[in-house]
């Protein structure tokens, strides 16, 4: 058996591939490398857009992510809230993900510096979980307070001061969609942007970034942050590095390893296939 066949025999065992990946990511997490991060133009555009929002902006925010997506989206949400805090915002939070209520409570506990400066009922409100159907988005645009009689904590929304200034589509300066799937984005494009021209800002996990890019390119969204790397860039722009910046080194290590797997896989496969054709056998 020659060298190529020996290497192939080891790496064909998928458990070895998994353990190598775990070792690299865990190793780098325990011993960070301090790799610098470049800032992409799209991230800078989002930062500048938020910076140019008027004073006392009214924001509608859909916290549509699960614990897996929180690794990418929670740093983005926290950085956005920290940036907008100086403008005395009014924020209506809701979620169309069933685990969203838990994620909102975690957001509150992870960023006490933000929420301690906002008064519940006056500056922000949490409407809790609303079903992920297009009708929810249409109803919210027509009037949040009329649609949702009670907030996530059982309090009546009828007397909350925030709904006097931030209730219907026309009231909001920007809608922020923190999402792990394309459904809320499609519903928002149809029911909010197309119907009412509400400005949409996407903060999405990297996996759906490319498929949502056309909406940003066509101007239907004012900007997009996609993935943990842009979350890290956003944190750096705000000069408040957090968990996203801390993860960049491990991301680099994992990416390099996967690139090595792809290159190695092809470098080993094609010669082995040639050898096997010459000998008349089958290649694994």
């Amino acid at each position: 058996m020659n060298t190529i066949e020996k290497i192939n025999k080891i790496l064909s065992n998928r458990q070895i591939l998994y353990l190598l990946l775990l070792a690299v990511v865990l190793g780098i997490m325990l011993h960070p490398l301090g790799i610098p991060i470049g800032i992409a133009g799209q991230t800078r555009d989002v930062y500048n857009y938020v910076d140019k929002l008027p004073q006392n902006p009214k924001i509608l925010m859909d916290v549509h992510y699960d614990p897996a997506g929180a690794t990418e989206l929670q740093p983005m949400a926290g950085a956005f809230l920290r940036q907008i805090l100086v403008k005395n915002p009014k924020i209506v939070f809701f979620t169309t993900h069933n685990i969203g209520p838990i994620m909102f409570e975690r957001l509150r506990s992870f960023f006490p510096d933000v929420f301690s400066q906002l008064k519940y009922g006056d500056d922000y409100v949490n409407l809790g979980f609303l079903p992920l159907v297009e009708a929810t988005f249409a109803s919210m645009a027509k009037g949040c307070q009329e649609f949702v009689g009670r907030d996530a904590y059982g309090a009546s929304t009828a007397d909350m001061p925030i709904f006097k200034v931030a209730d219907k589509a026309a009231d909001f300066n920007v809608v922020v969609l923190l999402t792990t799937s394309t459904d809320p984005i499609e519903y928002a494009i149809r029911q909010w942007y197309t119907a009412y021209k509400m400005p949409l800002l996407f903060m999405v996990v990297a996996v759906i970034g490319p498929s949502v890019q056309p909406f940003v390119a066509s101007g239907q969204a004012v900007g997009m942050l996609s993935g943990q790397n842009t979350a890290a860039q956003y944190e750096l722009l705000l000069k408040k590095p957090g968990s996203a910046v801390a993860a960049v080194d491990a991301q680099s290590g994992a990416h390099v390893l996967i690139m090595i797997y792809i290159v190695l896989g092809n470098l080993i496969y094609w010669p082995m296939r040639k050898m096997s054709k010459k000998s008349g056998g089958k290649t694994k």
Partner: protein, 245 residues
């Protein structure tokens, strides 16, 4: 503290599925599904109270029809009246289609077509080349998805100009989509690695729990391998019974 231990154990046991299906993985999976079912039930009840009952108490009496329509779902458990259950989803689908079909042409089709009509010369060379590239990629992609009309006669000795043009745009479309899928592949890796980093962060935060859970799952995997071997030997003996002297 106990919660952290359970969380770490469940994380390690669920990860073990990548190596081998085992008893601890099945236990973790069933715990997850069970609590997920209970949690979803609870937030649904909470949501019905919030958007169904509370508005009625505030004076919006018509909301009661929503509750009646929702109760139609439960008819599926009563054999004779299970046909009533179809009205619940029919209502949701009807409203959903009604509001999406009216806005989809403008939101999805017209807006995208409009933004594809880019000036091919803007004065700036890079922007112009970008616009030309984007226009060709969009046209190529649309050509690729056009299944019903293919110009010319397939297999003809000499290709007609229309067929050549079609083939050219088809090729551009394919390469254009390769750009999109290459970006999608790279983005998928970012997301999945981020999920792994999130879990490892929690495991690093409770190292004792993680180590104990890992030792237990190694034992479970070893047991699963041994059990599989025994079952395979047993099946072999059934096919070819051992010959006793």
């Amino acid at each position: 503290m106990f919660g952290l231990w359970i969380g770490a154990a469940l994380t390690v046991w669920l990860f073990s599925f990548a190596f081998k299906d085992n008893a601890l993985y099945k236990l973790a999976e069933h715990l997850f599904v069970g609590i997920a079912a209970a949690y979803n039930f609870t937030i649904a009840i909470d949501g019905i109270l919030k958007t169904g009952i509370a508005p009625i108490q505030q004076g919006n009496i018509l909301r009661i029809f929503a509750l009646i329509l929702g109760c139609f779902f439960f008819a599926k458990y009563f054999g004779k009246y299970s046909w009533v259950a179809r009205f619940g989803p029919a209502f949701v689908i009807g409203v959903g289609l009604g509001i999406s079909v009216t806005t989809a042409p403008e939101g999805f089709v017209l807006a995208q077509v409009k933004s594809s009509m880019l000036p091919l010369w803007t004065g700036d060379l890079l922007q112009s080349l970008t616009n030309i590239l984007m226009t060709f990629i969009v046209l190529g992609g649309l050509t690729y998805f056009m299944f019903t009309f293919v110009p010319g006669i397939r297999g003809a000795a000499k290709k007609a100009p229309g067929t050549r043009l079609y083939d050219a745009f088809l090729k551009i479309g394919i390469y254009g989509m390769m750009i999109g899928f290459g970006a999608l592949f790279a983005s998928t890796i970012v997301s999945r690695v981020a999920y792994l980093i999130g879990r490892l962060t929690d495991l690093i935060a409770s190292p004792e729990a993680s180590i104990v859970a890992t030792i237990l799952v190694i034992g479970a995997i070893a047991y699963a391998y041994r059990h599989e071997k025994k079952t395979a030997v047993g099946k072999l003996e059934q096919k070819e019974p051992r010959k006793t002297p």
